[in-house]
C-alpha cells in the first residue's frame, strides 16, 4: 500500500471524523434548555418585539432539521453563525483570538517538548540513579497537578507577593514604548509567567513519554549490535536510540493536543490572556451558543488536522511504513 494510498485513506478517515464532530456539534447545542435570547437580554428597556426580531435573526424558530440544513450550508461558506453576545460573525471573533492562543500554546509546547525530551533522555540513560528517581517523581508530580491550581500559585508568588511579573493580560494597554525593544521586552514580560506555567504543566507528560519510549528502545537487539560494533555511547544514543524512540513521541504529542487545549482554557482564565480559551470560558458563562459551537468545531478540527500531520510525520520518519 504505497504512500499516496495511505495518505488518501488517512485523509478520508479524518474527514469522517470531522463530519461526525460537525453533526455532534450541531445537535449537542440543540438539546440545551432555555431560550438563549431571553436569558441574554433581561433588560426591561427591551420591547418584546425586539426579542422576537432577534430570535428570527438567529433562525431559532424553524424546525430542527431546517436549522441543521442552514447550519451546514453556512458552514461550508465559512459562516459559523453570528454571536448572540457580540452580534459579530463567529469566524471573525474566533480568528481575532487565534494569534494570542497560538503564541501561548506554541511557545509553551515547544519549550516543554525540548526540555521534556532532554530530561526524558537523561533520566532514561541514567536509569535507577538518584537523578532518575528524583526526576521521575518530580515529573509525575507536575503531571498530576491541576493546571489552574499551578497558575494560581504562580500568580500568587510572582505577581502578587513579589510583584516581579504582571498579574495578567497581554500588555499594559495604552502604554507608551520608547522603542521597539522596550515593547518587545514588555511583551515578553507579560508572556513569561503564563508560558512558563503552561510549559511546567506539559513537561511532566513529555518526560514520561520520552523516558519509557527510550527505555524500551534501549533493550532492543540492534542496540547490542551497535555496542558490539564499538559505537561510542553518544552515537548509540543519538544515531541509534533516539531515532527509534522519537517515533512514538511524535504520535503522542499530536494526541496530547486535546489535553493542551484544555490547559489553555485554564491558563487563559487565570492570567486574563485574551485567547481562544478565555473566549470559550466567557462564551460558556454568557451562554453564547454560536460562539461555543464555532469554537468547539474550530479547536476539534485543528486537533484532527494536527493528528493528521503527526501521522504523516510518523510515516515519513519510519521507513518501515514508507515503502
Amino acid at each position: 500500500m504505497n504512500m499516496r494510498g495511505y495518505l488518501l485513506r488517512k485523509f478520508i478517515q479524518a474527514l469522517i471524523t470531522v463530519f461526525i464532530v460537525i453533526f455532534m456539534n450541531f445537535f449537542l447545542f440543540r438539546i440545551m434548555p432555555g431560550d438563549p435570547i431571553r436569558v441574554l437580554i433581561r433588560n426591561p428597556r427591551i420591547s418584546a418585539g425586539a426579542l422576537e426580531r432577534v430570535r428570527d435573526q438567529f433562525g431559532l424558530n424553524e424546525s430542527r432539521l431546517v436549522q441543521f440544513w442552514i447550519y451546514l450550508r453556512d458552514l461550508f461558506s465559512g459562516d459559523l453563525g453570528t454571536s448572540f453576545n457580540y452580534r459579530q460573525p463567529v469566524l471573525d471573533i474566533v480568528m481575532e483570538r487565534v494569534p494570542a492562543t497560538v503564541l501561548l500554546i506554541g511557545t509553551a509546547t515547544v519549550l516543554s517538548i525540548i526540555i521534556g525530551v532532554l530530561l526524558g533522555v537523561i533520566f532514561a540513560w541514567k536509569r535507577g540513579t538518584r537523578i532518575d528517581i528524583i526526576g521521575l517523581s518530580f515529573s509525575l508530580i507536575l503531571y498530576s497537578m491541576p493546571t489552574f491550581w499551578v497558575a494560581i500559585i504562580m500568580v500568587m508568588i510572582f505577581a502578587v507577593y513579589w510583584q516581579i511579573f504582571p498579574l495578567g493580560g497581554m500588555g499594559m494597554p495604552g502604554a507608551f514604548y520608547s522603542s521597539y525593544w522596550v515593547e518587545l521586552a514588555s511583551q515578553l514580560r507579560y508572556m513569561f509567567l503564563p508560558t512558563i506555567t503552561f510549559a511546567l504543566i506539559l513537561i511532566g507528560e513529555y518526560v514520561l513519554i520520552m523516558r519509557s519510549s527510550l527505555l524500551e528502545v534501549m533493550r532492543e537487539d540492534y542496540m547490542l549490535t551497535a555496542r558490539a560494533k564499538g559505537v561510542t555511547n553518544r552515537n548509540m544514543l543519538f544515531r541509534h536510540a533516539m531515532p527509534n524512540a522519537m517515533l512514538p513521541v511524535v504520535t503522542l504529542i499530536a494526541i496530547n493536543l486535546g489535553f493542551i487545549v484544555g490547559g489553555a482554557i485554564q491558563i487563559e482564565t487565570v492570567f486574563s490572556w485574551p485567547g481562544l480559551g478565555r473566549l470559550m470560558y466567557s462564551a460558556l458563562t454568557n451562554r453564547d451558543y454560536p460562539v461555543l459551537q464555532g469554537l468547539f468545531l474550530f479547536i476539534t478540527i485543528a486537533v484532527i488536522g494536527a493528528n493528521f500531520c503527526a501521522d504523516l510525520l510518523y510515516r515519513y520518519l519510519d521507513p518501515r511504513v514508507k515503502s
Partner: protein
C-alpha cells in the same frame, strides 16, 4: 602463538539476592582459521561465555576472573575505551538476527559504513565502495545497499550481518546461533558462505549453537557446556564418536542422526540447575545416570583423554587410574 587463549574465565550476574554463576573457569583456545563449536542446552552459559570475551554484557554482569589472550595480548583487564577499539576490529559477532538485530530505521549500507568508519578510518566514499564489495562477497545485489532491514528476508538479513561482521577483517568471529532462526535450506547456504569466508580470511570462529548437526558440519573442535562449565571439549570427530562425559553422551543420543540406524531419542530427565545456588560436587550429578557418592560431594578434575580431548568427570579419572 595461538589466536585466542582463554583460561578460567568466570562471569557472574549480580542479583539483589546473590550472584548467578553463569560461567565458571571456562578455558578454551583457538588457532588461526580454526572453528570451535560451543554447544549445550539453553541457559548453559554459552552465550555469556562468548560475549564475556569482549565484555559485551548487561550492566549487572561482571567478568570475575580469567585471562583472555588474543595473539598473546591479555584483554581481560582492558578498559571500556580500549574494548571499544577491540570490538569488531579483533572480534566481531553475528547475532541470531531475529527481526531487529539491525537498526530498523537506518539503511543497511549505512550501518556497515558506520563500522568501517570507526575502525578503518575510511572516507565516506571509500567506505561506501567497500560496503558494495562486501555485499557482492555475501552474494547480495550491491545496489540494495540503500534499502532498509525490513525489506530483506531472514536469510538475506543474516548475509548482511555477515557482511558487517567481516567488514573490518576481524581476527575472530563469534556466531551466536546465527542460523537458528532460518529454515533448513537457507541455513545450509549461510553456513556454507560462512565456511568459505572463514577459510579465505584465515579467521577464527566460535559458533554457539544447540544444534549438534551444525557443529558436525562446520566446526573443527567442539566444547560441550553444562551449567556454566565446559564438561568436555576436543576434536569434533573424537567427541562425536567417543563421547566421554555422561552429559555429552546423553546430548548426542538425544540428537538422532539422519544416516544412522533408527532408535528412540532419549531425553535427559530433570531441568538445568539454578545457577544462583549451583549443586555441590559435579553440577550434572542430579541428572547423571551414572552418579556416585563422590560425584555428589567432590567437584571432578579435568582429565586429558587424548591430545586435545578433555572431559571433567570422576568416572574418567577412575577408569584412567584403573587402567
Amino acid at each position: 602463538m595461538r589466536l585466542l587463549e582463554v583460561d578460567n574465565l568466570t562471569t557472574y550476574y549480580k542479583l539483589k539476592d546473590g550472584y548467578v554463576r553463569a560461567c565458571e573457569n571456562i578455558s578454551l583456545h583457538l588457532e588461526r582459521g580454526e572453528a570451535i563449536g560451543l554447544v549445550g542446552e539453553s541457559a548453559s552459559g554459552k552465550t555469556t561465555a562468548a560475549l564475556s570475551l569482549i565484555k559485551l554484557l548487561p550492566d549487572n554482569a561482571h567478568v570475575m576472573a580469567g585471562s583472555i589472550k588474543i595473539e598473546g595480548r591479555d584483554i581481560a583487564g582492558a578498559t571500556e575505551e580500549e574494548l571499544r577499539h577491540i570490538r569488531w576490529k579483533d572480534i566481531a559477532i553475528i547475532f541470531q538476527g531475529a527481526m531487529n538485530a539491525l537498526n530498523p530505521v537506518r539503511r543497511v549500507g549505512d550501518q556497515i559504513v558506520e563500522a568501517l568508519r570507526i575502525h578503518e578510518k575510511l572516507s565516506e566514499k571509500d567506505a561506501g565502495r567497500r560496503t558494495a564489495e562486501l555485499f557482492e562477497q555475501v552474494e547480495i545485489d550491491s545496489d540494495r545497499v540503500r534499502e532498509y532491514p525490513h525489506e530483506f528476508s531472514g536469510g538475506m538479513r543474516q548475509r548482511v550481518m555477515i557482511a558487517m561482521a567481516i567488514a573490518c577483517n576481524p581476527k575472530i568471529i563469534i556466531g551466536d546461533e546465527p542460523t537458528t532462526a532460518l529454515d533448513v535450506m537457507v541455513q545450509a547456504q549461510v553456513l556454507q558462505l560462512l565456511e568459505t569466508l572463514r577459510r579465505e580470511r584465515e579467521m577464527g570462529m566460535i559458533l554457539i549453537t544447540h544444534d549438534l548437526s551444525v557443529v558436525g558440519e562446520t566446526c573443527d573442535r567442539v566444547a560441550v557446556m553444562y551449567a556454566g562449565q565446559i564438561v568436555e571439549d576436543g576434536p569434533t570427530e573424537k567427541v562425536f564418536e567417543a563421547p566421554s562425559h555422561p552429559y555429552t553422551r546423553a546430548l548426542i543420543t538425544a540428537f538422532p542422526n539422519i544416516e544412522g540406524e533408527r532408535y528412540l531419542a532419549a531425553s535427559i530427565p530433570g531441568d538445568p540447575p539454578n545457577l544462583l545456588s549451583p549443586p555441590g560436587g559435579c553440577r550434572f550429578h542430579e541428572r547423571c545416570s551414572e552418579v556416585s557418592e563422590l560425584c555428589r560431594n567432590e567437584a571432578p578434575e579435568i582429565t586429558d583423554l587424548s591430545p586435545g580431548h578433555r572431559a571433567m568427570c570422576h568416572l574418567l579419572q577412575r577408569k584412567v587410574k584403573v587402567k
